[in-house]
Symmetry: C2
Subunit: 301 residues, 2 copies
């Protein structure tokens, strides 16, 4: 993270360590039966990862004044939803991937049936954490709001719906607006939820603050996805950390492929500006979110 | 349902129609994109079914004084969880079934990727309904309790864990106690949740009433599964409504196969008596639950 200040770098690293401890605590022990299922769940979640969504959740906590301990549940839940979606997306019937971040995918390390079940059990674990973690926001109404955010972001109006559009789109007959809509659901919805779960953990947050954060997150989510697609076009595999030119090979519709690389860069710059503009009403408490938006727009891996 | 009174028969039928209307309302419209995903979700849930779990939820509402309209959300949610579990259990990597209740399974009617996604989207829809349906219990704390019940029943300590034990057990090296534990999780957990979600929709219900209902439901759930296995051994396919002798063919460990048919019948009778005994503190408001326990113990399909 060379493009961000040393201070943010340290906070991001602290939050990453923090959520990994929370995940380890919330996940069922591999010494308890059914052992193989629990091992697969832990394998899918505790492998190497940037933990972008949890970090975003904690940084939003800084902006709205919610202590990290209140956000361990939401931060872990969003990472668990992300992890389950990768387990199912990698299955032979879906993207059929053998490797993820240099390790065998869950169905390769275990077996397909266990991977399907582990994904299912992870999804419900996310909601169980939000319904039970005693350290979360005290207000039951606020906790319900947090649950609603994650449910809406994960379902057919969010991540699962985006994946369905993606499956239907291979071969590429989507318009640019449709590609953006797919990304808004498939990637953007969870990015937005990371921000809004922290916002809703602060009962009494003014509606205009919540709306500003939602605008920030929507622009950030789309920017994040376009940069991902640009790295696939422009990046070197050893820097990006995964195979590049994979989208073109599989004929996936992406913003750079459809609008061109220059237009994609311009769109990322505009989205970054919009993210920063959305935070105009916040003071230095939102500097973490601001730096993250700049980092996402300029990242090389 | 020849073994139950005409009155209960009519109520069961009314509740079945009621939950099917609720399911139709809660499921995303097939005219909205992503159309294929929504079609698969509706196909998986709205096919023919006995709706045992929703009926049990409404009958528990009679016993504790919760109006049906407050239970449409929980009743629909539990049926949706049951439906998603069947979609995933039927997948080629799991039980590899082509037919379910005389219709092609979801992955045969659509495709595997769509079936995986539809199951995923159904699971989260169940939690979204519980977090949002405005007709449910007003108290946010009670609503959270309902969510906790469904989450615990669906995860590794419940249904998903039971399925994992079942997958690991084909070949049959479980003890009778382990088979009961598998059934307790795989089938019993959702049966219990059907009862406890209704109980928790009544804020202020005395703890001993809730415990009595939990005891009733635990005995009912196990009885329900053993009768299912007995029908597989003793039944005729045209009465049972699905292929029989399937468990023996696949070498699945069941109570009748391990303990014998006579011992299984005796166990069912004892469980029925325990269900009725658990309701000792209730008056005629629990007659529906009592008749259901007697029906489950004597059903022939």
């Amino acid at each position: 993270m060379a493009a961000v200040s040393e201070d943010l770098h340290q906070r991001v690293e602290r939050y990453r360590v923090r959520v990994e401890a929370a995940l380890d605590r919330f996940l069922p022990s591999a010494s308890q039966p059914p052992v193989r299922l629990h091992e697969a769940m832990r394998y899918a979640v505790l492998g190497p990862g940037k933990r972008v969504r949890p970090v975003l959740c904690y940084l939003t906590g800084e902006a709205v004044g919610v202590e990290p301990v209140r956000l361990d549940g939401p931060a872990a839940a969003i990472e668990i939803i992300h992890a389950y979606s990768l387990v199912h997306d990698d299955l032979p019937a879906m993207d059929d991937d053998d490797l993820r971040r240099g390790r065998p995918t869950t169905h390769r390390a275990f077996d397909e049936a266990t991977a399907i079940l582990a994904g299912d059990a992870l999804q419900v674990l996310a909601f169980e954490i939000l319904a039970t973690d005693p350290a979360m926001v005290e207000s039951a109404a606020a906790r319900l709001a947090v649950i609603r955010v994650l449910a809406a972001a994960s379902g057919t109006g969010g991540m699962a719906g985006g994946q369905a559009i993606d499956l239907a789109a291979v071969g590429g007959r989507l318009s640019l607006a449709e590609v953006e809509e797919m990304h808004r659901r498939k990637t953007g919805a969870l990015i937005e939820a990371s921000v809004l779960m922290a916002a809703d953990s602060r009962p009494g947050l003014p509606a205009e603050r919540r709306n500003a954060l939602a605008r920030y997150a929507a622009a950030l989510g789309l920017s994040f996805q376009i940069v991902d697609d640009l790295l696939d076009v422009e990046g070197e595999a050893d820097v990006v950390g995964k195979p590049v030119r994979a989208d073109a090979a599989s004929d996936k519709p992406t913003f750079p492929a459809m609008a061109g690389v220059a237009a994609a860069h311009a769109r990322v710059d505009a989205l970054c500006a919009e993210s920063l503009d959305a935070l105009g009403g916040f003071g230095p408490e939102a500097d973490g979110l601001r730096e993250l938006a700049r980092y996402v727009a300029t990242r090389r891996h």
